[in-house]
Point group: C2
Amino acid sequence: MDMSQESNQDRAPLYETMLSHRFQRRSSFHVPGHKNGKGVDAAATEYFASIMSLDFTELAPLDDLHHPTGVILEAQSLAADCFSAEETFFLVNGSTVGNLAMIMSVCAKEEILIVQRNAHKSVIHGLMLAGAKAVFLPPRVDAATGLSTGVSLTDVIRALEDHPTAKGVLLTNPNYYGMGIELSDIAEAVHLRGIPLLVDEAHGAHFGFHPDLPKSALASGADAVVQSTHKMLTAMTMGAMLHVQGNRVDRHLIQQRLGMLQSSSPSYPLMASLDLSRRWIYQRGKESITKALQVVQHFRERVKSKLAAAAIMEKEEHNLSYTFLDPFKITLHDRTGTWSGFQLRDQLALAGCDAEMADAKYVLFQFSLASDEADAEHLFLALSDIFMKLSLKKQDFLEEITNNNRMQLFTQISAPILMALPKKSDASKVKAIPLEASIGFRSAEMVIPYPPGIPLLYIGEQITEQTAAYIKWVAKQGAWFQGAKDAGLTHISIFIE
Amino acid sequence: MDMSQESNQDRAPLYETMLSHRFQRRSSFHVPGHKNGKGVDAAATEYFASIMSLDFTELAPLDDLHHPTGVILEAQSLAADCFSAEETFFLVNGSTVGNLAMIMSVCAKEEILIVQRNAHKSVIHGLMLAGAKAVFLPPRVDAATGLSTGVSLTDVIRALEDHPTAKGVLLTNPNYYGMGIELSDIAEAVHLRGIPLLVDEAHGAHFGFHPDLPKSALASGADAVVQSTHKMLTAMTMGAMLHVQGNRVDRHLIQQRLGMLQSSSPSYPLMASLDLSRRWIYQRGKESITKALQVVQHFRERVKSKLAAAAIMEKEEHNLSYTFLDPFKITLHDRTGTWSGFQLRDQLALAGCDAEMADAKYVLFQFSLASDEADAEHLFLALSDIFMKLSLKKQDFLEEITNNNRMQLFTQISAPILMALPKKSDASKVKAIPLEASIGFRSAEMVIPYPPGIPLLYIGEQITEQTAAYIKWVAKQGAWFQGAKDAGLTHISIFIE
């Protein structure tokens, strides 16, 4: 590795080396079997041939993700420099694998990790793989919307005091809706105990690259941070990064965990797209973001001035349940209560506009630095059409939605709970019973309504009346339950004891 | 899912749906952030723009890998039908994740799995993640080449008898060099115990699709089989499949494990490439293989008749250490002993021909059904040039290589060994010492010379004199040690006890 090149952010060392390798018109007597794209289906040539000509494997000039010493190390170092980390690991298995590896490098069996409850399921899976004990922190709740946001500093400090043997604290920031909290105070409190703050910043890869965007978790002092480069920046789907700083996490162990959990034949196009995304955000980040933020702002203003029935979530200054709202996330609902978020999403899809997610009340739109005026115009027109219909057939279930709003399921810091791998199916111990009859039993499945993909029950957790009621409610709103045996969750698998 | 379409192998349901979605010119307000490729770096447009226009996420018409009910389920069903499985899981994290999920669905903590020792490191990692106990089976050794091949039926039966509580048997077939064994008898012996035979068939995705190719593991009765569709067929790198038949493995648990270990945002281009590969092998498999086998055969004959110093490995009929040799794998060495496999590989690379791997003696070329005459000609000419030089500067280290040959490290069935996750670094317990001084200590790192990627030491295994000597020898031959702290392995990390 040529260290003098390390801070040359105008280079894309991995991608450039792949291109130069490609132009040598080499003959392949190695995997992959498609032989630089020759084996691509004729009908798919237009889409796959060019990328497959770069679909390489670990030949000497192309380095090795699991033991990088050349162009991949160089690309990762440039990324670390660009994102203000000390070291960056490229991920080809999504933020999922970043969360797994981060947790498994910090927690051994039966050790305690303090974890924000409204986490992505990969956090729960990481705890299970580690066999760790979780102390769950309740999220704060935004009174205006009923949405779960971040944790409170008070709760973090209390949990640290109650569990002095905890190995770290893991937070999810921002949440799916772009609502986030200031992390600096929490980082300081965690560091006072000599343990690391881990942050799942899957939705914040763009943070810190523009004065109008929130501060990144790394800038707030987090020790290890996972970012979905594909979500808010421009990498291909599954491309993500794990950033590290300081010495509270063991980088060698992180590399070891990633070596277990990621393919031994990682995709070069995916890795190159990380290299290119890093260069893009460095070279054009500020300019693109400025432009895209104008698009979003313009859209927001037009909705506000023209579509009286459409309400866009805004952060009120006096609202202390969260600190910032990512301007690229637009959360919208029907003020009249005629349409649920699910219904709005479905109508927009018919008009060619695909939203990020919907819940009972809201529909969430994700903009990014690649969003343009044409897209925003498309969405505005589609919304106008939908809300134009509204005045003609206004219905009256506003109250129902308002009353039910979002229940608060988790309000207390939990006791330490041992997270174990789901066991081999054992028909004599597991039984599917109607949800209403399940109260008091321990769940034999993880219950994750999608969206927003937050685990309501993990395997082994006792089903309370409140949980069952909540599940019934979100199911009625049209949520579906990823991985559940009964996708609509009228029945739930429990352990007979 | 339209079941009447299920066996229409001329369709590629996932890819077709992606294309039709693409042509709707929809506006994206969801991840990924590149917005159908608009966010791609200008310099990379030619390679990335077309594929990124298909880089979707889990929108309703596009189904969900982790809970398939639509086009992904349909594509997987067609694959199951094509590969003669009962059920097929698409993998976007390589055969690696297939091996992990397969093992973790069969073995719980401290349960026994009977495992062929010369396995890919992902098998060792799967055992560690499961916390299982491994009973290692020694591979047979091909006397002619010194290469490790498959296990013997006798050893499998003895291990089953000695360990009646074993939960399954996992074999790797064929090995990296394409040498494989007949599995039917072994499958039968394993099934007599009521437990599953699991097969890592990473290098055999093409098996069974042509009369001149070996029988597939599924056809031999294996219960779960992992195949790297990208290695010997035409998928993009990281695209693989896990096939299942019968009821000795728990498919629900496999899906659960895959849901933990694979990205919650799996790559659609990768999944589409699996769909397209399946269609290709079904539609054109026999024809392409016939053609490519002629290319290989022609190459083989020319080397034999024109390059006296180049020896290509062939399976002798009386050789009982393995049953078949994949004709697409060409293993070649320098008869005069002038050049090691590493040296041959490096000279060929200078001539633009990239081999699959090299070891001290051999260089391995992987052909596939996408290999053509032009590639074969390129390789033949490059080899001719290299061997032409040979007569001018023949040297005399033939004997050294012959005498050292490949040592036999593993000859006995091991006792059950608990495979645990490498622990958090603990400087007071781990120390790097010179390899020669390490005998008798337990290794604190996994030692995997690459090539061929077979673990010589796992974490916690005692270092014997023989192992140390073997490591020293392969290191001297230029092997490098993936993931080792000292890449040349003159030092090794051990536990001080």
